[in-house]
Protein backbone atom coordinates (compact mmCIF):
# COMPACT_ATOMS: atom_id res chain seq x y z
CA UNK A 1 0.00 0.00 0.00
CA UNK A 2 1.16 3.52 -0.71
CA UNK A 3 -0.18 6.84 0.43
CA UNK A 4 -1.76 8.57 -2.57
CA UNK A 5 -3.02 12.03 -1.63
CA UNK A 6 -4.18 10.66 1.71
CA UNK A 7 -5.61 7.43 0.27
CA UNK A 8 -4.13 4.08 1.14
CA UNK A 9 -3.86 2.48 -2.29
CA UNK A 10 -2.27 -0.65 -3.69
CA UNK A 11 0.39 -0.19 -6.37
CA UNK A 12 -0.45 -3.68 -7.55
CA UNK A 13 -2.22 -6.83 -6.41
CA UNK A 14 0.65 -9.35 -6.28
CA UNK A 15 -1.52 -12.30 -5.28
CA UNK A 16 -3.46 -11.90 -8.52
CA UNK A 17 -0.29 -11.78 -10.59
CA UNK A 18 0.88 -8.19 -10.26
CA UNK A 19 1.22 -5.12 -12.43
CA UNK A 20 2.14 -6.69 -15.76
CA UNK A 21 -0.72 -9.15 -15.61
CA UNK A 22 -3.14 -6.37 -14.58
CA UNK A 23 -2.07 -4.23 -17.51
CA UNK A 24 -2.49 -7.06 -20.03
CA UNK A 25 -5.84 -8.08 -18.55
CA UNK A 26 -7.20 -4.60 -19.28
CA UNK A 27 -5.84 -4.62 -22.85
CA UNK A 28 -7.13 -8.09 -23.71
CA UNK A 29 -9.88 -8.96 -21.20
CA UNK A 30 -11.03 -7.01 -18.17
CA UNK A 31 -9.61 -5.44 -15.02
CA UNK A 32 -11.26 -3.64 -12.12
CA UNK A 33 -9.96 -0.58 -10.28
CA UNK A 34 -11.10 1.03 -7.05
CA UNK A 35 -10.91 4.68 -8.05
CA UNK A 36 -12.83 6.09 -5.10
CA UNK A 37 -10.03 8.61 -4.62
CA UNK A 38 -11.42 10.55 -7.56
CA UNK A 39 -13.48 13.54 -6.45
CA UNK A 40 -16.91 14.70 -7.51
CA UNK A 41 -18.37 18.20 -7.64
CA UNK A 42 -21.97 18.86 -8.65
CA UNK A 43 -23.03 22.23 -9.99
CA UNK A 44 -26.73 22.77 -10.36
CA UNK A 45 -29.21 25.60 -10.60
CA UNK A 46 -30.49 28.04 -13.23
CA UNK A 47 -27.01 29.25 -14.21
CA UNK A 48 -25.16 25.95 -13.85
CA UNK A 49 -24.26 25.86 -17.55
CA UNK A 50 -22.94 29.43 -17.52
CA UNK A 51 -20.90 28.59 -14.41
CA UNK A 52 -19.48 25.40 -15.98
CA UNK A 53 -18.64 27.33 -19.14
CA UNK A 54 -16.84 29.99 -17.11
CA UNK A 55 -14.62 27.53 -15.22
CA UNK A 56 -13.87 24.92 -17.90
CA UNK A 57 -12.20 25.10 -21.31
CA UNK A 58 -14.32 22.69 -23.34
CA UNK A 59 -17.79 23.68 -24.54
CA UNK A 60 -20.27 22.25 -22.04
CA UNK A 61 -23.18 23.69 -24.06
CA UNK A 62 -22.54 20.95 -26.62
CA UNK A 63 -23.37 18.23 -24.11
CA UNK A 64 -26.68 16.40 -24.21
CA UNK A 65 -28.14 15.02 -21.00
CA UNK A 66 -26.32 11.72 -20.49
CA UNK A 67 -23.13 12.83 -22.19
CA UNK A 68 -19.69 13.63 -20.77
CA UNK A 69 -16.64 15.46 -22.03
CA UNK A 70 -12.99 15.71 -21.15
CA UNK A 71 -12.18 19.25 -20.09
CA UNK A 72 -10.00 21.25 -17.71
CA UNK A 73 -10.22 24.08 -15.24
CA UNK A 74 -7.61 26.74 -15.92
CA UNK A 75 -5.92 29.54 -14.06
CA UNK A 76 -6.21 33.01 -15.60
CA UNK A 77 -2.70 32.48 -17.04
CA UNK A 78 -3.94 29.50 -19.08
CA UNK A 79 -2.31 26.75 -17.00
CA UNK A 80 -4.06 23.89 -15.26
CA UNK A 81 -6.02 23.89 -12.01
CA UNK A 82 -6.97 20.29 -12.91
CA UNK A 83 -8.33 18.20 -15.75
CA UNK A 84 -11.93 17.08 -15.29
CA UNK A 85 -14.67 15.04 -16.87
CA UNK A 86 -17.88 17.06 -17.10
CA UNK A 87 -21.09 14.99 -17.01
CA UNK A 88 -24.40 16.61 -17.93
CA UNK A 89 -26.76 15.01 -15.42
CA UNK A 90 -29.78 17.05 -16.44
CA UNK A 91 -30.74 20.52 -17.62
CA UNK A 92 -28.90 22.90 -15.27
CA UNK A 93 -27.15 20.01 -13.57
CA UNK A 94 -23.47 19.06 -14.09
CA UNK A 95 -21.07 16.69 -12.36
CA UNK A 96 -17.33 17.35 -12.50
CA UNK A 97 -15.10 14.37 -11.76
CA UNK A 98 -11.76 15.63 -10.47
CA UNK A 99 -8.41 14.26 -9.28
CA UNK A 100 -7.64 13.20 -5.71
CA UNK A 101 -4.43 15.19 -5.38
CA UNK A 102 -6.11 18.45 -6.30
CA UNK A 103 -9.41 17.83 -4.57
CA UNK A 104 -9.47 20.56 -1.91
CA UNK A 105 -7.96 23.11 -4.29
CA UNK A 106 -10.51 22.21 -6.97
CA UNK A 107 -13.48 22.48 -4.64
CA UNK A 108 -12.31 25.88 -3.38
CA UNK A 109 -11.70 26.96 -6.96
CA UNK A 110 -15.16 25.95 -8.13
CA UNK A 111 -16.90 27.58 -5.17
CA UNK A 112 -14.92 30.81 -5.52
CA UNK A 113 -15.32 31.13 -9.27
CA UNK A 114 -19.01 30.28 -9.51
CA UNK A 115 -20.11 32.78 -6.85
CA UNK A 116 -21.38 35.23 -9.43
CA UNK A 117 -23.72 32.62 -10.90
CA UNK A 118 -27.12 31.49 -9.70
CA UNK A 119 -26.16 27.90 -8.93
CA UNK A 120 -25.15 25.73 -6.03
CA UNK A 121 -21.97 23.72 -5.65
CA UNK A 122 -22.01 20.41 -3.83
CA UNK A 123 -18.89 18.48 -2.93
CA UNK A 124 -19.85 14.81 -3.27
CA UNK A 125 -16.44 13.10 -3.23
CA UNK A 126 -17.12 11.24 0.00
CA UNK A 127 -20.56 10.11 -1.10
CA UNK A 128 -19.36 7.71 -3.80
CA UNK A 129 -17.25 4.65 -4.24
CA UNK A 130 -16.07 4.80 -7.83
CA UNK A 131 -15.28 1.49 -9.49
CA UNK A 132 -13.76 1.28 -12.97
CA UNK A 133 -14.37 -1.88 -15.00
CA UNK A 134 -12.00 -1.60 -17.93
CA UNK A 135 -11.13 -3.63 -20.98
CA UNK A 136 -12.76 -5.18 -24.04
CA UNK A 137 -14.69 -7.53 -21.71
CA UNK A 138 -15.74 -4.69 -19.40
CA UNK A 139 -19.19 -4.34 -20.96
CA UNK A 140 -19.86 -8.08 -20.85
CA UNK A 141 -18.79 -8.18 -17.20
CA UNK A 142 -20.89 -5.25 -16.03
CA UNK A 143 -23.88 -6.24 -18.14
CA UNK A 144 -24.38 -9.27 -15.88
CA UNK A 145 -24.90 -6.97 -12.91
CA UNK A 146 -27.25 -4.36 -14.31
CA UNK A 147 -30.61 -3.98 -16.04
CA UNK A 148 -29.30 -1.04 -18.08
CA UNK A 149 -28.63 -1.94 -21.73
CA UNK A 150 -24.93 -1.11 -21.94
CA UNK A 151 -24.83 -1.63 -25.71
CA UNK A 152 -26.85 1.58 -25.95
CA UNK A 153 -24.27 3.60 -23.99
CA UNK A 154 -21.67 5.11 -26.30
CA UNK A 155 -18.13 6.03 -25.30
CA UNK A 156 -18.20 9.16 -23.12
CA UNK A 157 -21.92 8.81 -22.43
CA UNK A 158 -23.59 7.56 -19.27
CA UNK A 159 -26.85 6.12 -18.09
CA UNK A 160 -28.53 5.13 -14.84
CA UNK A 161 -29.45 1.60 -13.92
CA UNK A 162 -29.81 -0.84 -11.09
CA UNK A 163 -26.40 -2.34 -10.35
CA UNK A 164 -26.18 -5.21 -7.86
CA UNK A 165 -29.64 -4.22 -6.65
CA UNK A 166 -28.67 -0.57 -6.15
CA UNK A 167 -31.21 1.55 -8.03
CA UNK A 168 -30.34 4.67 -10.01
CA UNK A 169 -26.61 3.99 -10.18
CA UNK A 170 -24.59 6.25 -12.46
CA UNK A 171 -22.88 4.10 -15.12
CA UNK A 172 -20.48 6.00 -17.38
CA UNK A 173 -18.57 4.63 -20.37
CA UNK A 174 -15.38 6.42 -19.34
CA UNK A 175 -11.98 5.47 -17.99
CA UNK A 176 -8.31 6.22 -17.79
CA UNK A 177 -6.86 3.21 -19.54
CA UNK A 178 -7.16 4.05 -23.26
CA UNK A 179 -9.45 1.03 -23.43
CA UNK A 180 -13.20 0.56 -23.55
CA UNK A 181 -14.80 0.34 -20.12
CA UNK A 182 -17.15 1.72 -17.53
CA UNK A 183 -17.00 3.66 -14.30
CA UNK A 184 -19.80 3.18 -11.81
CA UNK A 185 -20.64 5.36 -8.82
CA UNK A 186 -22.11 3.53 -5.86
CA UNK A 187 -22.77 4.72 -2.28
CA UNK A 188 -19.51 4.86 -0.33
CA UNK A 189 -20.88 2.68 2.47
CA UNK A 190 -18.16 0.08 3.09
CA UNK A 191 -20.39 -2.99 3.07
CA UNK A 192 -22.11 -1.93 -0.16
CA UNK A 193 -18.80 -1.08 -1.81
CA UNK A 194 -17.32 -4.46 -0.89
CA UNK A 195 -20.41 -6.27 -2.13
CA UNK A 196 -20.27 -4.52 -5.52
CA UNK A 197 -16.52 -5.08 -5.82
CA UNK A 198 -16.92 -8.79 -5.12
CA UNK A 199 -19.84 -9.06 -7.53
CA UNK A 200 -17.74 -7.47 -10.29
CA UNK A 201 -14.88 -9.87 -9.57
CA UNK A 202 -17.27 -12.79 -9.81
CA UNK A 203 -18.97 -11.53 -12.97
CA UNK A 204 -15.61 -11.09 -14.65
CA UNK A 205 -14.22 -14.44 -13.58
CA UNK A 206 -14.97 -16.14 -16.90
CA UNK A 207 -12.99 -13.39 -18.65
CA UNK A 208 -10.02 -13.70 -16.28
CA UNK A 209 -10.71 -10.45 -14.43
CA UNK A 210 -7.98 -9.16 -12.11
CA UNK A 211 -8.03 -6.32 -9.59
CA UNK A 212 -5.74 -3.51 -10.77
CA UNK A 213 -3.71 -1.03 -8.74
CA UNK A 214 -2.13 2.37 -9.24
CA UNK A 215 0.84 0.88 -11.09
CA UNK A 216 -1.11 -0.51 -14.01
CA UNK A 217 -3.42 2.50 -13.96
CA UNK A 218 -0.31 4.55 -14.65
CA UNK A 219 1.18 2.32 -17.36
CA UNK A 220 -2.18 1.96 -19.12
CA UNK A 221 -2.78 5.70 -19.22
CA UNK A 222 0.81 6.29 -20.31
CA UNK A 223 0.44 3.97 -23.32
CA UNK A 224 -2.64 6.01 -24.20
CA UNK A 225 -0.72 9.27 -23.55
CA UNK A 226 -3.45 10.42 -21.18
CA UNK A 227 -2.31 13.35 -19.03
CA UNK A 228 -1.62 13.01 -15.32
CA UNK A 229 -1.85 16.10 -13.14
CA UNK A 230 1.53 17.09 -11.75
CA UNK A 231 3.25 15.43 -14.71
CA UNK A 232 2.00 16.35 -18.20
CA UNK A 233 -0.26 19.12 -16.87
CA UNK A 234 0.22 21.46 -13.93
CA UNK A 235 -0.03 25.06 -12.84
CA UNK A 236 3.18 25.72 -14.81
CA UNK A 237 2.08 24.20 -18.13
CA UNK A 238 -0.45 25.71 -20.52
CA UNK A 239 -2.99 24.02 -22.76
CA UNK A 240 -1.07 24.54 -26.01
CA UNK A 241 2.12 23.09 -24.55
CA UNK A 242 0.24 20.06 -23.24
CA UNK A 243 -1.28 19.56 -26.70
CA UNK A 244 -4.77 19.40 -25.27
CA UNK A 245 -6.14 22.13 -27.52
CA UNK A 246 -8.58 19.72 -29.18
CA UNK A 247 -10.52 20.08 -25.90
CA UNK A 248 -10.06 23.87 -25.84
CA UNK A 249 -12.97 25.79 -27.35
CA UNK A 250 -11.79 29.38 -27.75
CA UNK A 251 -14.86 30.19 -29.85
CA UNK A 252 -17.36 29.33 -27.10
CA UNK A 253 -16.93 32.71 -25.43
CA UNK A 254 -15.36 33.92 -22.21
CA UNK A 255 -13.83 31.49 -19.72
CA UNK A 256 -11.01 31.63 -17.21
CA UNK A 257 -7.67 31.36 -19.00
CA UNK A 258 -8.96 32.22 -22.46
CA UNK A 259 -7.32 35.61 -22.82
CA UNK A 260 -3.90 34.38 -21.70
CA UNK A 261 -4.10 31.39 -24.05
CA UNK A 262 -4.98 33.71 -26.91
CA UNK A 263 -1.89 35.80 -26.18
CA UNK A 264 0.32 32.75 -25.62
CA UNK A 265 -0.61 31.45 -29.05
CA UNK A 266 0.02 34.83 -30.68
CA UNK A 267 3.45 35.14 -29.12
CA UNK A 268 4.42 31.59 -30.07
CA UNK A 269 4.47 28.31 -28.19
CA UNK A 270 7.93 27.48 -26.91
CA UNK A 271 7.73 23.89 -25.78
CA UNK A 272 5.58 20.93 -26.56
CA UNK A 273 4.66 17.57 -25.10
CA UNK A 274 6.12 14.76 -27.19
CA UNK A 275 6.29 10.98 -27.14
CA UNK A 276 9.65 9.26 -26.85
CA UNK A 277 10.68 5.69 -27.43
CA UNK A 278 14.08 4.34 -26.36
CA UNK A 279 16.22 3.16 -29.24
CA UNK A 280 19.07 2.19 -26.93
CA UNK A 281 18.80 0.15 -23.73
CA UNK A 282 17.27 2.09 -20.86
CA UNK A 283 13.95 3.12 -19.39
CA UNK A 284 13.28 6.86 -19.37
CA UNK A 285 11.47 7.77 -16.16
CA UNK A 286 9.69 10.72 -14.57
CA UNK A 287 11.96 13.70 -14.08
CA UNK A 288 14.89 12.49 -16.18
CA UNK A 289 16.65 15.13 -18.30
CA UNK A 290 16.22 15.22 -22.06
CA UNK A 291 19.24 16.37 -24.07
CA UNK A 292 19.98 16.95 -27.73
CA UNK A 293 22.61 14.69 -29.28
CA UNK A 294 25.33 17.20 -28.45
CA UNK A 295 24.51 16.74 -24.76
CA UNK A 296 22.76 20.08 -24.22
CA UNK A 297 19.80 19.88 -21.86
CA UNK A 298 16.59 20.67 -23.74
CA UNK A 299 13.75 19.36 -21.58
CA UNK A 300 12.55 16.69 -19.19
CA UNK A 301 10.52 13.51 -18.98
CA UNK A 302 7.09 13.95 -17.39
CA UNK A 303 6.22 10.23 -17.30
CA UNK A 304 8.18 7.24 -18.50
CA UNK A 305 8.08 3.50 -18.09
CA UNK A 306 8.40 0.14 -19.67
CA UNK A 307 5.13 -0.28 -21.59
CA UNK A 308 3.80 -3.76 -20.80
CA UNK A 309 1.51 -4.13 -23.82
CA UNK A 310 3.73 -2.42 -26.39
CA UNK A 311 6.85 -4.02 -24.88
CA UNK A 312 8.87 -0.85 -25.42
CA UNK A 313 10.37 1.79 -23.18
CA UNK A 314 8.32 4.93 -23.66
CA UNK A 315 8.01 8.40 -22.19
CA UNK A 316 6.19 11.68 -22.43
CA UNK A 317 8.47 14.70 -22.30
CA UNK A 318 8.60 18.43 -22.83
CA UNK A 319 11.04 19.66 -25.47
CA UNK A 320 11.37 22.93 -27.41
CA UNK A 321 8.91 23.18 -30.30
CA UNK A 322 11.72 23.40 -32.87
CA UNK A 323 12.95 19.97 -31.70
CA UNK A 324 9.52 18.38 -31.54
CA UNK A 325 9.30 16.88 -35.04
CA UNK A 326 8.63 13.14 -35.29
CA UNK A 327 11.71 10.93 -35.68
CA UNK A 328 13.97 13.55 -34.11
CA UNK A 329 16.61 11.78 -32.06
CA UNK A 330 17.30 12.99 -28.54
CA UNK A 331 18.97 11.49 -25.48
CA UNK A 332 17.52 10.90 -22.04
CA UNK A 333 20.00 10.96 -19.20
CA UNK A 334 19.69 7.71 -17.28
CA UNK A 335 22.08 7.34 -14.33
CA UNK A 336 24.46 9.88 -15.88
CA UNK A 337 24.50 8.11 -19.25
CA UNK A 338 22.80 9.43 -22.40
CA UNK A 339 20.34 6.89 -23.81
CA UNK A 340 19.12 7.59 -27.34
CA UNK A 341 15.40 7.96 -27.91
CA UNK A 342 13.37 9.07 -30.89
CA UNK A 343 10.22 11.13 -31.10
CA UNK A 344 7.21 9.01 -31.96
CA UNK A 345 3.51 9.80 -32.44
CA UNK A 346 1.23 9.89 -29.40
CA UNK A 347 -0.82 8.16 -28.23
CA UNK A 348 1.62 5.27 -28.25
CA UNK A 349 -1.35 2.89 -28.11
CA UNK A 350 -4.76 3.19 -29.75
CA UNK A 351 -7.37 0.60 -29.04
CA UNK A 352 -8.69 -1.40 -31.97
CA UNK A 353 -11.92 -0.06 -33.47
CA UNK A 354 -15.16 -1.13 -31.84
CA UNK A 355 -15.73 -4.84 -31.70
CA UNK A 356 -19.25 -4.79 -30.22
Amino acid sequence: MVDFSGWDMPVEYPRHGGLMKEHLAVRTGVGVFDVSHMGDIRIHGPQALAAAQHITMNDASKLAVGQCQYSAMLYPVGTFVDDVIVHKLGEDDYLLVINAGTREKDVDWVIENTKAFDCSVEHLSDAYTQIAIQGPKGAATLQKLTDADLSQVKFYWFTYGTVCGLPHTLIARTGYTAEDGFEIYVPSDEAISARVWNAVMQAGEEFGIVPCGLGSRNTLRLEGALSLYGHEISEAINVWEARLDRFLKMEKGEFIGREALHQAKASGIKRSLVGLESIERGIPRDGYKVMDLSGKEIGYVTSGSYAPFLKKNIALAYVPVDLSALDTEVAVEIRNQPVKCKLVPIPFYKRPKKQS
Binding site: G18, L19, M20, G215, R281, I283, P308
Partner: protein, 129 residues
Protein backbone atom coordinates in the same frame (compact mmCIF):
# COMPACT_ATOMS: atom_id res chain seq x y z
CA UNK B 1 11.30 -19.78 -1.36
CA UNK B 2 14.15 -21.13 0.72
CA UNK B 3 17.36 -19.15 0.99
CA UNK B 4 20.29 -21.43 0.10
CA UNK B 5 22.36 -22.07 3.21
CA UNK B 6 25.64 -21.92 1.28
CA UNK B 7 24.96 -18.33 0.08
CA UNK B 8 25.76 -15.17 2.02
CA UNK B 9 23.43 -12.17 1.99
CA UNK B 10 23.37 -8.39 2.35
CA UNK B 11 20.81 -6.10 3.96
CA UNK B 12 20.46 -4.55 0.49
CA UNK B 13 19.10 -7.93 -0.67
CA UNK B 14 21.95 -9.32 -2.76
CA UNK B 15 23.25 -12.85 -2.42
CA UNK B 16 26.85 -14.01 -2.80
CA UNK B 17 28.03 -17.54 -3.48
CA UNK B 18 31.73 -18.17 -2.98
CA UNK B 19 33.68 -20.86 -4.84
CA UNK B 20 37.33 -20.53 -3.92
CA UNK B 21 38.31 -17.04 -5.06
CA UNK B 22 35.26 -16.55 -7.29
CA UNK B 23 32.10 -14.84 -6.04
CA UNK B 24 28.77 -15.11 -7.86
CA UNK B 25 26.26 -12.32 -7.16
CA UNK B 26 22.50 -12.00 -7.63
CA UNK B 27 19.47 -10.56 -5.86
CA UNK B 28 17.31 -12.43 -3.38
CA UNK B 29 13.86 -13.84 -3.81
CA UNK B 30 12.61 -11.28 -1.33
CA UNK B 31 14.08 -8.51 -3.53
CA UNK B 32 12.50 -9.76 -6.75
CA UNK B 33 9.21 -10.18 -4.94
CA UNK B 34 9.20 -6.59 -3.64
CA UNK B 35 10.28 -5.20 -7.01
CA UNK B 36 7.62 -7.00 -9.02
CA UNK B 37 7.93 -7.71 -12.75
CA UNK B 38 11.58 -7.10 -13.63
CA UNK B 39 12.03 -5.56 -17.07
CA UNK B 40 15.58 -4.24 -17.14
CA UNK B 41 18.94 -5.16 -15.68
CA UNK B 42 22.05 -3.00 -16.07
CA UNK B 43 25.34 -4.70 -15.23
CA UNK B 44 29.01 -3.65 -15.33
CA UNK B 45 31.42 -4.80 -18.01
CA UNK B 46 33.97 -7.57 -17.49
CA UNK B 47 37.08 -6.06 -15.95
CA UNK B 48 35.24 -3.48 -13.85
CA UNK B 49 36.35 -3.19 -10.23
CA UNK B 50 33.51 -3.16 -7.74
CA UNK B 51 33.73 -2.16 -4.10
CA UNK B 52 31.88 -3.64 -1.15
CA UNK B 53 28.85 -1.51 -0.28
CA UNK B 54 29.02 0.49 -3.52
CA UNK B 55 26.56 0.24 -6.41
CA UNK B 56 27.60 -1.85 -9.38
CA UNK B 57 24.44 -1.77 -11.48
CA UNK B 58 20.71 -1.54 -11.31
CA UNK B 59 17.59 -3.56 -11.72
CA UNK B 60 14.26 -2.12 -12.78
CA UNK B 61 10.74 -3.40 -12.51
CA UNK B 62 7.86 -1.64 -14.23
CA UNK B 63 7.24 0.41 -11.11
CA UNK B 64 10.71 1.02 -9.63
CA UNK B 65 14.45 1.37 -10.10
CA UNK B 66 16.70 -0.31 -7.58
CA UNK B 67 20.48 -0.07 -7.25
CA UNK B 68 22.58 -3.19 -6.96
CA UNK B 69 25.17 -3.10 -4.15
CA UNK B 70 28.34 -5.13 -4.15
CA UNK B 71 28.41 -7.55 -1.19
CA UNK B 72 32.20 -7.67 -1.40
CA UNK B 73 34.98 -6.08 -3.47
CA UNK B 74 36.46 -7.61 -6.58
CA UNK B 75 36.90 -7.53 -10.34
CA UNK B 76 34.12 -8.61 -12.67
CA UNK B 77 35.09 -11.75 -14.59
CA UNK B 78 31.76 -12.74 -16.11
CA UNK B 79 28.39 -11.11 -16.74
CA UNK B 80 25.08 -12.90 -17.26
CA UNK B 81 24.27 -11.32 -20.63
CA UNK B 82 21.11 -13.41 -20.96
CA UNK B 83 19.44 -11.06 -18.48
CA UNK B 84 19.60 -8.27 -21.10
CA UNK B 85 16.91 -10.01 -23.11
CA UNK B 86 15.20 -12.12 -20.45
CA UNK B 87 15.30 -10.11 -17.22
CA UNK B 88 12.12 -11.87 -16.07
CA UNK B 89 14.18 -14.96 -15.23
CA UNK B 90 15.12 -13.08 -12.04
CA UNK B 91 11.44 -13.22 -11.01
CA UNK B 92 11.22 -16.89 -11.83
CA UNK B 93 14.23 -18.04 -9.84
CA UNK B 94 16.21 -15.24 -8.22
CA UNK B 95 18.71 -17.57 -6.60
CA UNK B 96 19.61 -19.21 -9.92
CA UNK B 97 19.53 -16.05 -12.07
CA UNK B 98 23.01 -14.81 -11.20
CA UNK B 99 24.11 -11.38 -12.40
CA UNK B 100 27.90 -11.19 -12.22
CA UNK B 101 30.91 -13.26 -11.20
CA UNK B 102 33.89 -11.59 -9.63
CA UNK B 103 37.42 -12.42 -8.57
CA UNK B 104 37.32 -11.70 -4.85
CA UNK B 105 39.74 -8.99 -3.75
CA UNK B 106 39.63 -9.74 -0.04
CA UNK B 107 37.92 -13.01 0.95
CA UNK B 108 37.80 -11.86 4.59
CA UNK B 109 35.01 -9.42 3.60
CA UNK B 110 32.70 -12.42 3.25
CA UNK B 111 32.63 -12.82 7.03
CA UNK B 112 30.70 -9.57 7.44
CA UNK B 113 27.72 -10.84 5.41
CA UNK B 114 24.52 -12.40 6.73
CA UNK B 115 23.83 -16.11 6.91
CA UNK B 116 20.70 -17.51 5.25
CA UNK B 117 18.93 -17.74 8.61
CA UNK B 118 19.84 -14.19 9.60
CA UNK B 119 18.84 -12.83 6.21
CA UNK B 120 15.52 -14.63 6.25
CA UNK B 121 14.77 -13.11 9.65
CA UNK B 122 15.83 -9.65 8.43
CA UNK B 123 13.75 -9.89 5.22
CA UNK B 124 10.76 -11.17 7.17
CA UNK B 125 10.92 -8.21 9.54
CA UNK B 126 11.22 -5.80 6.64
CA UNK B 127 8.26 -7.35 4.81
CA UNK B 128 6.22 -7.04 8.01
CA UNK B 129 6.45 -3.26 7.93
Amino acid sequence: MAYPADFKYTKEHEWLKVDGTTGTIGITDHAQNSLGDIVFVELPKVGTDITAGQTFGSVESVKAVSDLYAPVSGTVTEVNEALNTTPETVNKDAHAAWMIKIALKDPSEVGALLSAADYEKFAGEEAGH
